[in-house]
């Protein structure tokens, strides 16, 4: 059955959606969407370097994404520019450096569109092994780090004061992000990885009563989006990444419709007590 490229893509895509769910929740809780984008864009530099130095593709993407995130932490500490501006600089410079290096390597022919927007034809059996192996690793890591991650998301100083290690947790979180980006790149494409992190999580928010429920729901919604998107991609011959994102957005819009919404508790205070 795994001979069929479509089945391979489906298995791979669902694996990615499952690990992207909880991680994506943290991305939106911590307001790190743009940060995720920057790491993802740096993946193209990773692709270029892997071709240039003949390194393993995923490993090279993972290393570049991790280096970029550490670089950002370092630049943030210096505090010369706002995080916003730093992210813009890092994101686009990594993307452009990648494209320029690729252009210089006239001896390699690469499917740039495939890297940028995903290519379901590119999924091999060994990719599936890596995706599910990496996925299980990511899920275990998140379960293990859940309490410190959540506590430092709410308030890093509170977490630090009560004996959890927010700095170390943050570093692990970034490595997990880099890992997911390296793994997900083939299916969703560099430009759209963050949407697979964010959109299912945002969709899950409305139906969630606890952080844990939201994380699981985001995985489920992501898997639905991947499945629908891949079928659409096959049917209309569209690139897999954008198809998945279009489907995810469709689910998100559905979640906004006031169907089955609990009545708004009018009696509740409209002021959120200064914590917004």
């Amino acid at each position: 059955m795994l001979d069929d490229f479509f089945v391979r893509a489906l298995i791979a895509g669902i694996g990615i959606a499952v690990m992207a769910g909880p991680l994506g929740c943290f991305v939106i809780w911590r307001r790190m969407a743009y940060f995720g984008d920057t790491m993802a864009h740096s993946a193209l530099l990773g692709v270029a370097l892997s071709l240039l130095l003949e390194l393993n593709l995923m490993l090279s993407v993972f290393i570049v994404a991790a280096v970029v995130s550490v670089l950002l932490l370092f630049l943030q500490r210096r505090g010369a520019l706002s995080t916003d501006a730093l992210l813009g600089i890092l994101s686009h410079s990594a993307l452009s450096f990648g494209l320029v290096i690729v252009a210089f390597m006239t001896w390699v022919r690469i499917d740039l569109v495939g890297f940028l927007f995903g290519d379901i034809l590119a999924v091999s059996e060994s990719d599936i092994d890596i995706i599910w192996g990496g996925g299980i690793l990511v899920i275990f890591a998140i379960v293990y780090l859940w309490r410190p991650l959540l506590a430092s998301t709410v308030n890093p100083e509170l977490a630090e004061a009560e004996g959890l290690k927010p700095e170390r947790t943050r570093l692990f979180f970034m490595l997990l992000m880099a890992l997911v980006i390296a793994i997900a790149m083939k299916i969703v494409g560099i430009l759209l990885i963050t949407s697979l992190l964010i959109i299912p999580a945002a969709t899950a928010r409305r139906f969630s009563t606890s952080p844990e429920v939201m994380a699981v729901l985001a995985s489920v919604i992501g898997a639905l989006a991947v499945t629908g998107g891949l079928f659409g991609s096959l049917h209309w011959d569209t690139p897999s990444g954008p198809s998945i994102v279009v489907d995810a957005v469709g689910l998100f819009v559905l979640s906004l419709l006031p169907i089955g919404r609990r009545p708004v508790e009018a009696a509740h205070h409209s002021t959120p007590g200064g914590h917004h």
Partner: protein, 301 residues
């Protein structure tokens, strides 16, 4: 009243001549105090005087850039930060907030929530709470951990006067029942909790320290606050030997003006004669360091 301060009890936290520096500026310097089990220490001072910084240094969130902070090994801290913003995208009920930093039994959660009077809000999302309700939920979370040291950064902010009295009552009960040490940051410069053992007044350094004067003893205050409040609140009279000028310089009691007011500044304290011209209540950090003048010992003696 239980007395937890026996001479051989190790302090939970001992801060010695500590200073925290950010971007080349001292946020606070020359801080000295300790918190023993069962002791309530209240930090007061104007905005930006380094109260929160001092509290963070005490619990290890900030590392002091000079001096040292010693904590009892294995110290368990319960912390209520001054500002806590929960993003609306995070679905977090009061009940779930309780186990944020560590597991708790259902009974412990209930006890803590009913102690602060927000048990009925257990299932509510924290983003829907009013300022006062949220503050009570945070306090419940901090006490449910059964900490050795409770650090409360302006715990009564957003709480009305009557609620403030009730929270101070509760803090007193927690201290009496569990014998934990409490570091309290007050938003008010003159009114502190009556049970406070030591008040430390900060303005970039320790300006003065002492014990509050019970309101209940003064009929005027009793009239002003009402009887219930009079038993809970106390007035702290400052005894400063210097004034902070608007431009940041410091005018000392002897008329000299210095750029700063911290230990080792090389100002009038070089002149031994001028040093002890202020009340017993003053415990400027510089005196403590330069002359080994220990306020607490002297007061207890």
């Amino acid at each position: 009243m239980l007395n937890f301060r026996s001479p051989d009890t190790l302090p939970l936290v001992n801060i010695s001549n500590a200073g925290v520096r950010r971007n080349g500026r001292w946020l606070v310097r020359g801080v000295e105090f300790s918190i023993s089990p069962g002791e309530i220490v209240t930090l007061i001072g104007p905005n930006g005087s380094g109260k929160s910084t001092t509290a963070k240094a005490a619990i290890g969130v900030l590392k002091p850039d000079e001096g040292y902070v010693e904590r009892k090994p294995g110290l368990k801290v319960g912390y209520v930060p001054q500002k806590l913003a929960v993003d609306w995208t995070l679905p977090l009920t009061v009940e779930r907030l309780m186990t944020l930093t560590g597991p708790l039994k259902g009974r412990e959660i209930e006890e803590a929530l009913s102690a602060t009077g927000v048990l009925h809000l257990a299932k509510a999302e924290v983003q829907h709470l009013s300022g006062g309700e949220f503050q009570r939920a945070l306090l419940a979370r901090a006490i449910a951990r059964k900490p050795d040291l409770l650090v409360l950064d302006e715990p009564v902010q957003g709480v009305d006067f009557s609620g403030e009295i009730a929270l101070y009552e509760l803090i007193k009960q927690i201290r009496n029942r569990t014998g934990c040490g409490i570091l309290l940051i007050s938003h008010d410069l003159h009114i502190v909790m009556a049970e406070t053992d030591t008040v430390v007044c900060l303005n970039g350094h320790v300006c003065c320290r002492g014990t509050p004067q019970a309101v209940s003893q003064s009929p005027e205050y009793q009239k002003l606050f009402g009887r219930r409040a009079a038993n809970t609140l106390a007035v702290y009279s400052h005894h400063h030997d210097h004034t902070h000028l608007p431009d940041g310089r410091v005018l000392h009691a002897d008329g000299s003006i210095t750029e700063h007011c911290f230990p080792g500044d090389g100002h009038h304290h070089d002149d031994e004669e001028n040093v002890h011209d202020h009340g017993e209540d003053c415990g400027c950090g510089h005196h403590t360091r330069l002359h080994g003048y220990d306020m607490k010992e002297k007061r207890d003696a």
